[in-house]
Amino acid sequence: MSEAVASTPAAPCAVCALLRRIAGGVLPVLTVVATIVALWYAAAIGLNRAWTLDQAQRQGVELTAGEILADAMSQERPVLPAPHQVFDELWATTMGEPILRERRGEYRPNPRSLFFHAWQTLAPTLLGFAIGGLAGILLAVGIVHNRAMDLSVMPWAIASQTIPILAIAPMIIVVLNSIGLEGLIPKSLISAYLSFFPVVVGMVKGLRSPNAMDLDLLRTYSASGAETFWKLRLPASVPFLFASLKVGIAAALVGTIVAELPTGARFGLGARLLTGSYYGQTIQIWSALFMAAICAAALVATLGLIERMTLRRMGLDR
């Protein structure tokens, strides 16, 4: 790489720029990924070889080092699956399975498809995030404009986050079930429960970010409270809002997955985790975890894109 650059020192060629960009950005990232994968393989072999050796001893077979290595990386229920096993499982349950399959003459969702399960989790996550985000913004507006709310709401919001979600989720499900709500809505509400908090905190900070001079300026125009809100506080809060929305949407996904655990849900990433743990299907658990991570990354990246477009339009992105 450096030779290629060195051979044409003065020429500002596109290839050189590309190579330099690769050297500057992609190489370090690849190095980190490669290191993680290597450590992962080492850990998988270290953790799984005990079982391999145990099996060999029972059968009275002597194994070579190569055989131990190969077996430790290809067990059906390893303590820690090797990266390629997780990847194979991910591939087989996404690309290898149709999302819909035909049954008794009609097309229904295919419960073997991880995309189907991911969607079962994503839909309540998005709804819950919408509810939580909106609630967070409204609460923040109330806190900033009403002294009673400022004193009363924030302690409750903080208290709500100190309760372990795993403890309160089953109760929410049971209560909602008794009034006839099941499926999407209870999951969304638990997801909203986790996602509203960062939005409240970030939005309050954002709405209070204008300094005394910014506020005095509007006072010299005899601006009303509503005008101060729409023309100053709200636009000033946008960068804060996006930062907290990114935290909130990741929390919303966690909330949905947690909501799927105690209810014996049959579909969704949480359900995959649960059934995986019933049957010791560690590979299935890990692939569901990876799918959850991919979903979270995609959600956060999408918000990041919207953030950049919005801030650029507002002239705040330099």
């Binding site: 001079m213 300026l217 006072r219 010299t220 636009p235 000033a236 507002m314 002239g315 705040l316 330099r318």
Partner: protein, 273 residues
């Protein structure tokens, strides 16, 4: 003090004064006890005056401007702006206020920033556009309307903030150290422009500054203040005439006034604290 008050009283001539303060007191209640920011301030500002307020930090010059703007409430005495209370005057859009920093909203373009008071005051869109064009020309920023504030230099930003204060045609312009954060050369240039603007628009200007040359160069009247408690120690009439090239600052007349301002500052200032 009383001499100054008498001089001021004599000055109040035919036209009704724009600002009239009588025995004005303002005490702030702070955590460390009461702080007297203004004590027995008597001042009359007539239409068309360019009045500078000069004095060390804590002398109450900014506080006085904020009282005029109804951003602070006096605890004693009376003050009228165009014959009304400061609150009423503000509702009548009596003044435009220029702060120490430009204070342009970063998410608004320059023209949208200038249109901000016009939006709040309910001008229609066509009128907003016309006025924005007018004041942009007045401060020499034609063609910069579509830029965002960060794309402009500090001096240009401050000019935009002056344009914003001029946009709704207030007769009174209150400026709180508007050029304090700018370098000397930009400052000289803006002072020249401000003087030209004042001559052209015949507005009344109240101008807070730390700088003696700036005060003498700009003003028809210089109010010297001193701290703890904030009070007026001298009011100096400056008769340098309307045409003031920058090199007027080397003339004996200019230096004589500057000397008197310096003496006033020295007399009012306790150097031991």
């Amino acid at each position: 003090m009383s001499m100054a008050a008498e001089a001021v009283a004599k000055m109040a001539t035919t036209a009704a004064p724009v600002i009239e303060a009588r025995g004005l007191d303002l005490t702030f209640q702070t955590a460390d006890g009461p702080v007297q920011a203004l004590r027995d301030v008597n001042l009359t500002i007539d239409r068309g005056d360019f009045v500078s307020f000069i004095g060390p930090s804590g002398c109450g010059k900014t506080t006085f401007l904020r009282v005029v703007a109804a951003l602070e409430r006096p605890t004693g005495g009376t003050i009228t702006v165009n014959g009304m209370t400061p609150d009423e005057a503000r509702r009548q859009r009596a003044y435009g206020y220029v702060f120490q920093a430009a204070g342009l909203y970063p998410w608004r373009t320059i023209e949208k920033n200038i249109a901000l008071p016009l939006e709040i005051m309910g001008f229609d869109r066509a009128e907003q556009a016309r006025r924005v064009d007018d004041v942009l020309r007045l401060v020499d920023l034609e063609g910069f309307g579509k830029k965002f504030p960060w794309q402009l230099s500090g001096g240009m930003q401050q000019r935009a903030s002056i344009a914003r204060a001029l946009a709704f045609d207030a007769d009174l312009l209150l400026m709180d150290e508007p050029f304090g954060a700018l370098d000397e050369i930009v400052r000289d240039h803006l002072n020249e422009q401000l003087l030209a603007l004042w001559r052209r628009t015949e507005k009344t200007i109240g101008f807070v500054t730390h700088s003696i040359p700036e005060a003498v160069y700009l003003s028809t009247k210089i109010v010297v203040m001193s701290p703890r408690p904030g009070r007026i120690t001298d009011v100096i009439e400056s008769d340098l005439g309307p045409d003031r090239p920058l090199d007027i600052r080397d003339t004996p007349e200019f230096l004589a006034i500057a000397h008197r301002v310096r003496e006033g500052l020295r007399a009012g200032h306790a150097y031991d604290d």
